[in-house]
Symmetry: C2
Subunit: 344 residues, 2 copies
Amino acid sequence: MAGGVGSRIWPVSTQQMPKQFVDIVGCGRTLLQLTMDRFKGLVPDENVWVVTSRHYRDIVHEQLPQIPLGNILLEPCRRNTAPCIAYASWRIKKQDPKANIVVSPSDHFVLDTVEFRRIAASCLEFVSVSDSIVTLGIRPSRPETGYGYIQVDRSASSPRNPSILRVDAFREKPDLATATRYLEQGNYLWNAGIFIWNVNTIVNSLRIYAREISEIFENLLPFLATEREQEKVDEAFPTCPSISIDYAVMEKAEEIFCHPSDFGWSDMGTWGSLHDNTPSDAAGNTLIGPVDTYETRNCIIHTSGLKKVIVQGLEGYIVAEKDGQLLICKLSEEQRIKDFSGGN
Amino acid sequence: MAGGVGSRIWPVSTQQMPKQFVDIVGCGRTLLQLTMDRFKGLVPDENVWVVTSRHYRDIVHEQLPQIPLGNILLEPCRRNTAPCIAYASWRIKKQDPKANIVVSPSDHFVLDTVEFRRIAASCLEFVSVSDSIVTLGIRPSRPETGYGYIQVDRSASSPRNPSILRVDAFREKPDLATATRYLEQGNYLWNAGIFIWNVNTIVNSLRIYAREISEIFENLLPFLATEREQEKVDEAFPTCPSISIDYAVMEKAEEIFCHPSDFGWSDMGTWGSLHDNTPSDAAGNTLIGPVDTYETRNCIIHTSGLKKVIVQGLEGYIVAEKDGQLLICKLSEEQRIKDFSGGN
């Protein structure tokens, strides 16, 4: 899934160039490319499908030249994750009715890719012989209020794979007291928005729980993988309701499993999460770009487009520049960035 | 005089593009152009001479296309103000032995140009009939320790022009206690480095007080205003001692006059002086460029090369960007900028 717009980390992420297409961590690879890299050895290039906005087609093709152009599916408009996943699922089903699928955001960061691959492989094996929905649940390291949580039943693991637990409930973003309780209780995991299933499981789940969406793609089916695919998708896709896969399926489905995971995950949704998940210097600064600091602590400075940056006397700030747009803002005020940037 | 490098306001002023060539105040004109504008109606374009480094010849020509290319005198190296003024003086004398001259830095700012012109005209008239050295002394508004002072004798005004006073002494940059006393005593003025004299006065003064320099230009005289001028200047100029006109002449000359002045002068030498001498918003911010501020006070933000700048939660800082170089620094620490920038 590569259609999102991460406006909370403006100006590094903008509508023209959202964060999945940006080298956020300063390693020379964009988050989309890092996501692709993560599946190396697990999924052949030609089996990778990217769903994105039609505006980003060329960017995706440029950043992932190894995947067939026909594997880049183009949404004519944004309709949240359920229609996005439905489109890919029906399209893949037409080509390979027995496909096993990992659904993954393209704008998240995973530190331990070996562990990620191990868990993804284990779940893929699981769904290849089971019509189950499996999610990855990240072991929480702090009472984060910005993520949804998955409540698991630690006593109910799958007989087929003891690492995979039954899900009791999906929980929306909690307040701090609730998040703190979740952390104490130990059976709540962060919902990373990563799903593993076989194609029939998700198609059937959408047929049961999201009829409005499934009917649209049933009607599209004759045109998928034909010359008229884009034309027909452009007509029908905007008629989908805008709804997340969590609301459309996860919160309704009867039996869902979760694989608790610990691979250094971050959604990179905020400057704070970026600060927490990238290496810092001794003063707690995350410096991405050519930066010299003096008397500066606990800052994230992301200015890789600039030639020389001097920062003196800042504590707890974000400094970010991209394409002539500069942000200086207290880390504690970062929830206001969307307003500052005018939604761009 | 347009050969200086204002490295204290890096990155807006750099060796490649010193501040006289930059639109520091964000009005659409560089300090050099504003200096030229200041003499409109007083000095015809063809009587304006610019002494600069040979590296800046094209910049000067581009910014002041109205002055003849031959009026741009090129120093092969930096030798402070005395050799610079000597070169221009001998060159002008050869062309017009009766010239009256205003010597002015090109990187200062004057708010009230009408008053500046009135005073300059009055002084030019004075020196046209008197072999006197006249300086402009700025009425101090604060006990500034960054400027030199001129001590005047308030009881000794010139019979020919009662606004022009006799100078008792030139004083180097004082400490704060001394500067405070100067301000209280009322007969100390800031030395703005602006001099008015006729060409014979300065040439003779240099002959008397700076023989090392005058001899060099006496020898050059046959070549000035000829095809070989540049070649000969390039040979001889580096042999000049590096010395300011204040040390070479002002502090030695017997009779110097000063016209007290009040035309909103600033040397623009520091971010603080820029902050003090340009319009501020209600929160005391000087904003030059497309900047939106939130909870930001007493900052100077100079980012006219950027497309969009958001600053939240800063108080008493400099934020300046130019050509991919970004500075964020407390105003109170600005004396360290030279070190930060590596002298560039």
